[in-house]
């Protein structure tokens, strides 16, 4: 029997009969390749997307678990109507300012998790919270400190207060 799933991607409703992993739907069927394939085992963070505002790996999620949910990928920054867009755009600008990428393969996932953090923060954000938000993401080039600075900078721009911190990069 053919199942059709309805879900929202970047603000648009779609119907799909695709039964595989969400990442394959997103990349191969929808052509949204900002979400990267890195490990397929939820261990590296390259494929993170926002699912109802939470940053999650998409490589092992099956499409049926997304029914009725809202999925946001990095490409959503083109859509000015989404509430995530101002955060994504501010983060993108900060990443450019800090030159916070070498190969950039992990960048999309980092931006997604940083967006989730900044959107869910109430008034303050701490270094520890930033590190925890970025912890699921691996970066092999060693750009961590630049990424950390870029996220901190964006937090300030978003009107968040940085709570006193034990370590700062």
């Amino acid at each position: 029997m053919f199942h059709s799933h309805s879900l929202k991607i970047n603000g648009e409703s779609i119907q799909t009969g695709f039964e595989g992993a969400a990442l394959q739907l997103i990349r191969n069927q929808l052509g949204l390749t900002a979400s990267r394939y890195g490990c397929g085992q939820e261990q590296c963070g390259a494929c993170h997307v926002l699912i109802d505002g939470q940053s999650k790996p998409s490589c092992q999620l099956t499409v049926d678990t997304l029914v009725g949910r809202s999925v946001v990928t990095l490409e959503s920054a083109q859509n000015p109507e989404l509430p995530t867009t101002p955060y994504l755009k501010a983060l993108q600008a900060a990443f450019i300012d800090e030159q916070a990428a070498q190969c950039g393969y992990c960048t999309s996932g980092l931006l997604i998790s940083a967006t989730a953090l900044l959107m869910s923060a109430h008034e303050t954000v701490s270094d520890l919270q930033i590190r925890e938000a970025l912890e699921p993401h691996l970066c092999r080039c060693g750009t961590h400190n630049r990424v950390f600075r870029a996220v901190k900078k964006t937090a300030l721009q978003c009107g968040l207060k940085l709570t006193p911190s034990e370590v700062s990069a």
Binding site: N28, A34, F95, C103
Partner: protein, 716 residues
Amino acid sequence: MSQLLQTSVSLKTNPLLSQWLRFEANGSVTVFTGKAELGQGILHALKLMAAHELDLPLDSVHIETANTQNSPDEGMTSGSLSVQDSGLAIRQASAHAAQLLKTHACASYADLRSHVDVKLPVDLSVPTKSTALTLTEGRDDIEALVQGQPIFLHDLGINVDLTPIKNLLHGRMVRGPGLRCTLRTDGWADAVAGLPKEVQAFRDGSLVGVVAPTEELAEKAASKLQRLLKWDVAALPECIEGGVDLVERAPAMDSQVFHEAGQLSEASKDAKRYEAVYFRPALHHGSMGPSVALAVWASDQASSGLKVWSHTQGIFPLRKDLALALGVDAQQIEVQHVRGAGCYGHNGADDVAYNAAWLARLVPGQCVRVQWTREEEMQQSPLAPAMRVKLQATVQSVAAPTSSGPPKGRADLELLTWQHDVWSQGHSSRPGRAATPAFKDSWLTDQQFPVLEPINVAAAAGAGAERNAIPPYSTQHVKVNAHRLLGLPFRTSALRSLGAHANVFACESFMDEIADDQGLDPVAFRLGKLEDPRARAVVQTLADQVNWLERRQTLSQKEGWGLGIAYARYKSKGAYCAVVAEVEVTHQVNVRRLWVVADIGEVIHADGAVSQLEGGAIQSTSWALKEQAHWDSNNITSTHWDAYPILRFSEVPQVQVRLMPGHSQNSESLNPPLGAGEATQGPTTAAIANAVFHAVGVRVRQLPLTPDNLAKAALA
């Protein structure tokens, strides 16, 4: 201020202006390079150099990505040589072009086209401009990266139009375990009979692959065959955890004296002998994106030819080996470079390109995309070899300091002898160097290509296992013996800094051990034994910056905290680099801060260089603290990030990088650029190990510095 004339190797092999530059009708200039963007930002640095010499705004200069049809052949993008090879060639060609513009009084480079035939040799006598820290514009590709644009090879054919190519097929390989295995062919017919009709399965000897119209189908078919097919395999050696005893397991060994210099003199009664053995396990490259490639064979016989898209480090060497493996003329093959995820050495890029080319030949006219899985990337791409280093030295106190001349430092402790023995498999299995192909999977076909034994490149090219085995310190007699392990069933090849990582770890740990035993300060001891003023300047600048003595003293009072230093000049002729590490040892080693000082000669793009040095230091921290490949009797088992953990955000130290000015003291002219990409690998790991000793008094000679190895060393 003009440059000292430096001739680039690449300019010698590609001497014509037209091989480097093309003047466009709109006045912009296209720059050709044979070097590949690996995530290191090299294309940006090359573009900066060209625009600066051509006196054009950055957006009027376009860099063509490497392609075998129109790029200069510059071999591999490796060894921290791209600025020296490609950069200096492009700079000279651009300076020549700028001069031609003046001579012919042209208003733009477009006009130049009617005045000169660009197939003239680049004039090496044209002076070039200084770049000293003036080129500050950031990488213009970061914007595409933060927007998630489809600029990776991984995206090609998925949402990047490949017109005129239609019919993208997805390929997957099916393999038995180990370096070389034999397929039991009696099960083949039954296994493939059960595959869906859209799937095609192919076999050549023991090499098996499938193609299918979708990635999901290809994946399913491959895992089905993987379950059904059986293989005869050769067992992997049983080793003590980490492979410390791999040396004893090697069936054969090629021992050579790599270097010997100085005079052996008789040691006095009070001379003291030191000896220590260090170990670095096999490492994975751990690129974030598993390797991928696309290939298509022209279907009509008249224009039979192969096009391959690859994130290889060397388009020409890859083309050469593809020709060997497929039995065609290299001229029939075009290799187009497209960037992949960060590359730190010989990863799976070339092998997967062979996979795609092999499958594409079986479905002529259709483009085949092969995407390796994480497991394939960890199992099939080469390992960085495990290395054992034994150091022996004789040290003697000298009563009176030298009476005349400039002080050479501490003359009261002399290194009489220094012997460095290194045991390792070869550090290169790269394509393009042998009479038979280097692709692992090509060894499985009926053509019976031999398994290639990993080699070490020549000393002039920076050596392999022996890289940085010669100590930078003045000793009366020094000898380096290199023992290449042969016949081990692991394919090993280049990983960022090759043998330098383990050799510097050993040498710099040993220096600290001697200093400690002699009651000397590690910085003072090193300064006393370094003769090169640039080396001394790097170490002294770093010591001053961290306030070495005071900080070390303060940390001595804090339980579990320590400070360590290490120094090396990469390849003994590249960048000078010193690193100080501050660690806190709890139940594990925590690296809190790193300070890096480097002299990389002329600095082209300071932020890019700083980023490379910092990135290298963080990667080296990850190697030092966590990394070690594992295998069982059948196969490599560290196939995912839980089995092969690397440094995560919470474990990353703060890093401060300082670049020395590009010119020596009392000199106006810039020193030649030395490359920055690999300089921090060795010193960072060594500085961390030295800091651990300072923190808890335990000398860990076996990497990684895990709680287990720390406990073992404490009990030793």
